[in-house]
Amino acid sequence: MPQNTARRAGRRTTRRFTRRDIVVLGALLGIPVLLDVVIVWGPALASVGLSFTSWDGIGDIHWVGGDNYENLVQDYPAFWPAVRHNLLWIAFLGLVATPFGLLLAVLVDRGIRFSRFYQSVLYMPVVLSLAVVGFMAQLLLGTDQGVVNTIIGNEQDPVDWLGDSSVNLWMMMLAASWRHVGYVMILYLAGLKSVDPELKEAAAIDGANERQTFFRITFPTLRPVNVVVGVITVIEALRAFDIVYAVNKGRNGLELLSVLITDNIIGEASRIGFGSAIAVVLLSVSLGFVVVFLVQELRGARER
């Protein structure tokens, strides 16, 4: 273990860290910590505070207690649909897109020909900007000259893929998966490359077939990657905003918590207290997942 060695070494030099070490540590830990407090945690806490007030962004700030939360749950018609959509988004990315990315990674990793080519193509959507993805959604799914409607041959009575509130959420989740799958694949590929090939060879000599090798040898060693992928999947789903906002500003069947926050804070109404209350709901859910993942991750680190 490193700490034993460090302590042993420390005993020899009478102290574990020299004065210069302390300065380096102080500066190079201090700067990022300060930055994170100012940019991330401070504002997050401030939002929690603002969620108990009413404020239009200019005038006075009034303390209103839990009123915002009460209104949110009882009177705000878009709230529960948004929660449902967010949950559906998590389920879709987690149960469809992420396993598909893993499957692609395993196939590409088998050392077949052209694997580099496949890999590059599959990763391509990840580097595209949202503006491009939103534009392509319109090109493909539009009602006037959309390609999908042309292919399925119903130009006379086109399906409004982006406007019809019963299908547009699914189209958006597909568009989001387009980028998510490639990202997950590249993370798993990185993990798979680092699995010792000798282990797989040993399993093959013992007569394990490919499936057994994968589930008993490869997959368990991917645990750290699984944790990262899990976090990214849930968080991406909770953060989903860009694509939806680009298509129709998150209205008419595409309501998400992130959209509601933006509407209230940046929109004309500028109900900052109320918007902050939605932000705090999203924050709590996110933090819930984050803490569960981190605790599990730290337990894993201790076992190792």
Binding site: P2, V24, L35, P43, M124, V127, T221, I261, I272, R304
Partner: protein, 309 residues
């Protein structure tokens, strides 16, 4: 890496299979199946991109008449020229570089040190620090917007740093927010990565009297090159593609980065999808090139040659 594997999968975990079973020889047909499957998925993945490229090469009248999915009469690069000149994309590309390059470098440097301290030095509170950064990156950006906006308006800067005289409406604001927000993700990934490096290398250095800086800069960081290259690629594309921060913290349209300029283009020419397609491809091109160029390094490095010794 090797030590890591040994502790997680012991030899006993492998169920022995009756001797005499032929060792795995994949049938040729299975391989064809994989190729067919992967080709089909790849085709589905690039189809929208190819369609956009195809559309951008054709005159608007033609696609308006026959639809996007029709045989071309005439192909030209005119729309690319028009999109580039009409929207002043050169300036916006420069703005993006002004923001993204320092942001990526500083983020990686700071995150690498934090990850090093958390995973390689046995400092007190290391785990708490890791959680502090990781959890911070996972917060939804919308939660932070209002307080940051108010804060940035209140911070004054000298004229030579920002012509708006405040942090608001300056490149600094966007650079700072990107760094602060992305450091957490990089800390998480890099500390995961550093944990897999062999401890012996660092122990040897400590015995030789190397200080914290040497242990970090000369010994740990070179081993992290593959991870750093991968993260640099990701971070560059993320910061390049971001438009939320720039839209909120920059008010002067001349300072906007390229992704937001596509938004302008979209507003000006939203009926002419062919021109918009050309603009979109121009915006997408740099990130695609960055990925393709860094990819070789990225994949070659992932085998972690140095840790096997």
């Amino acid at each position: 890496m090797t030590a890591d594997l040994k502790s997680t999968t012991r030899a006993g975990d492998v169920t022995p299979i009756a001797p005499g079973t032929a060792p795995d020889r994949r049938p040729r047909r299975g391989r064809y199946g994989v190729h067919i499957f992967l080709s089909a998925v790849c085709l589905a993945f690039v189809a929208p991109l190819l369609l956009a490229v195809y559309t951008s090469l054709r005159p608007y009248e033609e696609t308006a008449r026959d639809g996007y999915f029709s045989w071309p009469d005439k192909l030209s690069l005119d729309y690319y020229r028009e999109a580039y000149t009409a929207s002043g994309m050169g300036t916006y590309f420069t703005n993006t570089l002004i923001i993204a390059v320092p942001a990526v470098i500083v983020t990686l440097f700071l995150a690498a040190f934090v990850a090093f301290a958390v995973s390689r030095l046995n400092i007190r509170g290391g785990l708490a620090l890791l959680m502090f950064f990781t959890a911070g990156n996972l917060l939804p950006p919308q939660v932070l917007v209002t307080p940051l906006y108010v804060l940035f308006l209140k911070i004054d800067l000298p004229w030579w740093m920002s012509d708006s005289m405040t942090l608001y409406d300056s490149y600094w604001a966007v650079i700072l927010v990107n760094i602060g927000f992305q450091v957490g993700f990089c800390v998480f990934v890099l500390s995961q990565f550093m944990r897999t490096l062999p401890k012996e290398i660092l122990e040897a250095a400590v015995v030789d009297g190397a200080g914290v800086w040497t242990q970090f800069w000369r010994i740990t960081l070179p081993l992290c090159r593959p991870a750093l290259a991968a993260l640099a690629t990701l971070e560059f594309t993320w910061i390049y593609n971001d438009f939320l921060w720039a839209l909120i913290f920059i008010s002067n349209p001349d300072k906007l980065p390229i992704t937001s300029s596509l938004n302008n283009l979209r507003g000006q020419f939203f009926t002419d999808y062919n021109l918009l397609a050309a603009g979109s491809i121009l915006v997408a091109l740099p990130t695609i090139l960055v990925f393709l160029l860094l990819q070789r390094h990225f994949i070659a490095g992932l085998t972690l040659g140095s840790s096997k010794g």
